[in-house]
Symmetry: C2
Subunit: 353 residues, 2 copies
């Protein structure tokens, strides 16, 4: 998987709710941007999510996981439905994919595109990336409960952090910071309370920093980081943080950069021993699903991350440029509310080389 | 401690950094508002924090904790200093007080006072209160590390949640919601990932809701809650949440309501078997300490919470009104930057009955 062959074998998991609709548009744009490039896309679609669960009780059959593993990359729409008990699809499908495929870098860029409305009065320039750890922390599923449903119930959740796991994601964060013009890395944690995990993160950042003398290093407690995300988001360049803090910070970051409808993500295995998975940050939005009113932009931007990961930087840049132009047209009032497919059509037309 | 006697025995812990300066002003306002009320304040000051730690290596001697326990309430400035290893004062003093005195309700109102600048372009009316659990969750200090400093280090943090602990804080949240005009309670957690702890919280809210049929109940994942705090903060009335999520949400809430300089908090034991503790949400701000430029408003508003807790609602309302008026004068440009003591003087003059 070091570099993409002529044929990109893509596993597609549209999932639930608006995941279905936005994935169609993302694939449309992917096909368009690769048209004439000599690269072709071969997709295998996997019908995972609420429907499969209701039909069979399964979330991610082992055989499907093994098939998915044989692909070059995965495109995912969104997972989750109110008809399924909370946690079943999240833990049994989405997180299972991230963990089984060792997606230890959950990459979430936050950029305020020109003209995009933001809830902030004075946003300044916002362009940072969160490198969220993806395979450890409070997400490991190492919790339990006893005496459930009694007045003596005890429920625990264990955050597991290893030197191995922290170091590899911290090193990835530094490498990304070193490759960016501002070369700044901010560690976000809560080491004054979560002293064991926090100090492991802190010591690791200090140690890896020695390998990246050009990168300026900064630290914020997670509570303070949320303040700066609304008062001075320009201060951030690369944020490296754990799985749960990263979940929280990236939704907030999406909100200040125009909303979850524009936020893309990559669940990346930088070692390329498994396919990486690209998905919008947004959820399944069951309230608007099936109505062709969801904005597919986040899914399309996830395709840009996918192309970048596969070494097709030019194609990724064309997708980014098409989105930037489309958002500018919205800001200028040149286009109004469009069906999901119309946004996809416009972007697909715009990315052609 | 059910109701305040004529003499309020107040333990005062100014702490570190600007904690020292803001506490002086808070006490000034407290004395002024009770002047002529028949209530008098008897303060015992405890010099805890970085200085004690450097002198003796102690953070909270048992004998001091026992003395503090004998008071009606505690006023705290702020704790923490860069000269002390991270976590030592936080865990050994601040959290030790909260845990030892069973402050299970960490009460944090968020209100956008008229005229106060906010980073939000269109804030709307903001007036909610976060009921943050104070004695459980990831804050219990139930973590550890093995093979520290080696490539095989493992560090864990355990979030402990009990039916007993969750139920009492949830019930407090419902009681507060029932007493407010909008009567709405939002549970914030992450039960799709932290399934054991999250489902305990969720089931508890469902069960207690039956006792409060007038209160509308809502649920948000913590990541989504951060989005609404910047896109639609008016939707919140009472938020009930765990210790760590509450820490994060209340700093963000402070940011959108004019900053951490205005955010007050109470560490409350509603059972009144121990003294409750009132403190500004802000930290010690070592960079501006000792310069008389810190805003004492958050400490003064913490005094209002203290008075309310002691059943002196009228006095509390006078403090609130004085702060509201002072903030309006700032907004109108009638007062500029003033030394910390001048703000305290102005508020003290304004609260006199
Ligand atoms: C759906 C949920 C399990 C997931 C997460 O918490 O990681 C989502 O919020 C995200 O950020 O991708
Ligand atoms: C100083 C720190 C331990 C504390 C906390 O995390 O509770 C602070 O952030 C707060 O919110 O009071």
């Amino acid at each position: 998987l070091a570099r993409m062959a002529d044929t990109l074998r893509l596993a597609v998991i549209p999932g639930d709710g608006i995941g279905q609709e936005v994935t169609v548009e993302a694939l449309k744009v992917l096909a368009a941007v690769l048209d004439g490039s000599g690269h072709r896309v071969e997709t295998t679609e996997y019908d995972l999510g609420a429907r499969l669960y209701h039909r069979t009780g399964e979330t991610l059959p082992d055989s499907v996981l093994e098939e998915v593993r044989g692909h070059d990359a995965i495109l995912l729409g969104a997972i989750g439905d109110p008809s399924v008990p909370s946690g079943v699809l999240e833990r049994g499908l989405l997180l299972k994919l991230r963990f089984a495929l060792d997606h230890y870098v959950n990459l979430r860029p936050s950029k305020l595109f020109p003209g995009v409305p933001t809830p902030l009065a004075d946003p300044g320039e916002i362009d940072f990336v969160v490198v969220r750890e993806g395979t450890e922390g409070p997400y490991v599923g190492n919790g339990g409960a006893v005496r459930v449903g009694t007045p003596h119930e005890i429920a625990t959740e264990v955050s597991v952090n290893t030197a191995f796991g922290v170091e590899r994601v911290v090193r990835d964060g530094f490498a990304r910071a070193a490759a960016r013009p501002r070369k700044k890395l901010t560690l976000v944690h809560k080491h004054n309370v979560l002293v064991h995990a926090g100090h492991l993160w802190r010591r690791t950042v200090e140690a890896v920093a020695a390998e990246f003398p050009d990168v300026a290093v900064d630290y914020l407690h997670v509570d303070a980081a949320t303040i700066f995300l609304v008062t001075d988001p320009s201060r951030f360049d690369v944020i490296v943080t754990d799985n749960l803090f990263g979940d929280i910070l990236t939704d907030l970051a999406a909100a200040v950069t125009g909303g979850i409808g524009l936020a893309a993500s990559g669940n990346v295995n930088p070692d390329r021993t498994t396919p990486s998975m690209f998905e919008p940050v947004h959820g399944t939005a069951p309230d608007i699903a099936g109505q062709q009113i969801a904005d597919p932009t986040a899914a399309v931007l996830s395709v840009a991350l996918l192309l970048d990961h596969l070494g097709l930087g030019d194609a990724a840049a064309r997708v980014d440029a098409a989105v930037t132009a489309d958002l500018a047209r919205r800001a200028a009032g040149e286009v109004g509310a469009r069906p999901t497919a119309a946004v996809g059509d416009a972007l697909a037309a715009a990315v052609v080389a």
